[in-house]
């Protein structure tokens, strides 16, 4: 649905058609975010154009399509896409829609193909996107069929960092390298710590009846664990200490790119993300000494590349009486409607992991996270019930409160880039996320990514 929301130059604010200005109802600096933006369909439609048609989005990991012709189907933003390695070995991402009549060209989740033939009329594309043959070509008169320009529609830009493939539909977007900026330092810390990481198997995908931002908001939130996952506290599988996950650092690497790095119990087991010694030993080769020192103090980390891509580097146990085991999980929220979101979740493993560790990491992830995970399932319940409570005309006049740490001083001693804050309980990261959201919603690219939390 289109809307008449517009930026009025006269007063320089973004007004919804009801006259409400986004600037009035979303005030990240004060930690006040209106419930309205989480469920409103006009805001949702604006997001499609201003965020999902413009931003950088995670597509997948290089390791998912190792061989020429390997192909999986994905979403880029909210558009269906093909993530393929072409016959030359180059990674490409295309809109999954035939240039002719718009048919989904690839209709499986995964296959290996040198060319893709559209079922409708048979247009055939090479896996590098070129149009090989149209249908009934001889029936086009001269000049009617510009085959050169009718290949699959590629994303406007594609970028890879640590094997993580991102893409944007916007040619005006800054290059990925600039977009990630100081976040690369932390992506390296997580994804480049050893001789590389790879995706295990296939992602889990499931739909949750939630506005997408309720899910997104949850990922760098460390202090929900004690309550939201209190069943595990009750079972003795999490420390019975409300502050247990607070002894770390929260970082705003760039506006909207946010993370925390948090130590576990003060034992060697929880050092270096809990990785096996063999993998720990690889770190100095791949990380700077500063990063290695940082990694030593990390058992738990979550980060968000704005807007909807997250990593979870966690240690947990899915089994009473068993030790915590680390795993590295990637997450993506793809909005389906104002109140429905598709969740994607991948498990990564260090390529040099031993089989026993890989198995333990795999089983721990599956048991604790993903739709059947004994942690994750309660998160979804929260997102859905937040959504349902934010739909009515009374509720949407009220703000959520993200005020924790508004006055917290910067941790000037932090060696890494970005704005760091001691104590990994806080809402600095979410405020930064909503600041970035406001930039996207109200500005063009030129001013969408400068500055920090004011």
């Amino acid at each position: 649905m289109s809307t008449t929301s517009q930026r009025t130059d006269s007063d320089d604010v973004m007004r919804l058609s009801s006259g409400i200005a986004l600037e009035e109802i979303v005030r990240p600096d004060e930690g006040l975010i209106s419930r309205r933006i989480f469920t409103d369909s006009e805001v949702y439609e604006l997001e499609q154009e201003r965020i999902f048609a413009r931003g950088w989005f995670f597509v997948g990991h290089e390791s998912e399509i190792p061989e020429p012709g390997d192909l999986v189907t994905r979403s880029v933003g909210t558009d269906p896409a093909i993530f393929v390695r072409d016959d030359e070995g180059q990674i490409r991402v295309f809109l999954n829609s035939c240039r002719h009549r718009g048919m989904r060209v690839c209709r499986t989740d995964r296959e290996n193909a040198s060319f893709l033939r559209c079922p409708y009329h048979g247009w055939a594309y090479k896996n590098n996107g070129e149009l090989l043959t149209a249908a009934a070509e001889s029936h086009y008169e001269e000049g009617e069929l510009d085959k050169e320009n009718l290949g699959l529609i590629p994303v406007a830009q594609l970028g890879v960092h640590c094997g993580l493939v991102f893409a944007t539909w916007d040619p005006q977007a800054p290059p990925l390298d600039d977009y990630l900026g100081d976040m690369k330092y932390y992506l390296d810390l997580i994804f480049n710590r050893t001789g590389g990481v790879k995706v295990l198997g296939t992602p889990q995908i499931w739909d949750v009846e939630t506005g997408w931002k309720f899910a997104t908001d949850n990922f760098t939130d460390n202090f929900h664990v004690f309550s939201a996952h209190h069943s595990l506290v009750e079972l003795g599988m999490l420390p019975n200490d409300p502050d247990f996950a607070s002894h770390g650092t929260m970082v705003v690497a760039e506006e909207g790119h946010i993370l925390h790095l948090t130590p576990g119990a003060p034992t060697d087991e929880y050092a270096f993300m809990g990785l096996p010694q063999k993998l720990r030993d690889q770190m100095p080769e791949h990380l700077t000494p500063e990063q290695v020192a940082m990694a030593e103090k990390v058992a738990y980390s979550a980060g968000t590349v704005w807007p909807n891509f997250h990593w979870l580097q966690l240690m947990s146990s899915g089994t009473l009486g068993q030790r915590d085991v680390p795993f590295l999980n990637l997450r993506l929220e793809v909005p389906i409607s104002p109140t429905r979101t598709r969740m994607w979740s991948w498990l990564l493993i260090d390529v040099d992991a031993d089989p026993e560790y890989e198995k333990a990491s795999y089983e721990t992830y599956v048991r604790t996270f993903g739709p059947a995970g004994i942690y994750d399932q309660d998160d979804m319940e929260n997102w859905e019930d937040c959504t349902r409570a934010s739909l009515g005309p009374a509720a949407r006049k009220h703000s959520l409160h993200h005020t924790m740490g508004i006055h917290r001083p910067l941790d000037e001693s932090w060696p890494g880039p970005g704005r760091a804050y001691a104590d990994s309980y806080g809402e600095m990261t979410q405020r930064s996320w909503y600041s970035a959201w406001m930039r996207f919603m109200t500005s063009g690219w030129s001013d969408a990514q400068d500055g920090g939390e004011r």
């Binding site: 989740d109 499931w206 939201a228 079972l235 089994t319 399932q377």
Partner: protein, 183 residues
């Protein structure tokens, strides 16, 4: 995947017919099990499982038929007795929010097929399952698929323990919020 080949091999054995006592007892056993789940009697439910239980629900993907049925190397559930016990103890706390307050589930056991390995005496039971769920004031959600159980005789041979359970879901995208439900 290899586990599919195994399941298919079992399905090739001659069927134990529905009018037989053995089929009747297995049928009763599976209905009893379903009832325990729907009545939140989880501890009793787990007693029906062997301590060696392998409990698994693989992730499915859409693939061309020539490429297989779409079960690849990933799972939604990969549980053993101790992890099922953990799930159940968790549900018994008052803090497992996805099921507090509890969903109302209904497990429909349908199309039971039973085979028996003459040598080992092990039974393989497969059903079509339909599980409906409603919680709070929400409309129905639904799960369907085939469930393969390996059963071993228990006690005097008139009851059973589930020694392996493989749950093959029909959906590639679980459209029902989460898998806080057991199968």
């Amino acid at each position: 995947m290899s586990f599919l080949a195994d399941l298919r091999a079992q399905a090739q054995l001659p069927p134990v017919l529905p009018h037989s006592e053995l089929y009747g007892r297995v049928s009763e056993f599976l209905h009893h099990e379903a009832e325990l789940l729907d009545a939140y009697r989880f501890a009793e439910w787990l007693e029906l499982f062997s301590t060696e239980i392998e409990y698994r629900m693989p992730v499915r993907t859409t693939q061309f038929l020539v490429d297989g049925e779409g079960f690849n190397d990933f799972d939604f559930f990969v549980d053993d007795h101790q992890t099922l016990m953990t799930r159940i103890k968790r549900l018994e706390t008052e803090f497992a929010w996805a099921e507090t307050p509890p969903s109302r589930t209904r497990h429909f056991v349908s199309n039971l097929r039973l085979t028996r390995d003459e040598e080992s005496g092990e039974l393989a039971a497969r059903i079509n399952f339909l599980v409906t769920r409603t919680r709070q004031d929400l409309d129905y959600q639904m799960f369907t698929g085939v469930r393969h159980d390996r059963l071993i005789p228990d006690g005097d041979g008139t009851s059973f323990k589930v020694a392996r359970r493989t749950i093959l879901v029909d959906q590639t995208v679980i459209t029902a919020t989460n898998l806080s439900v057991l199968f």
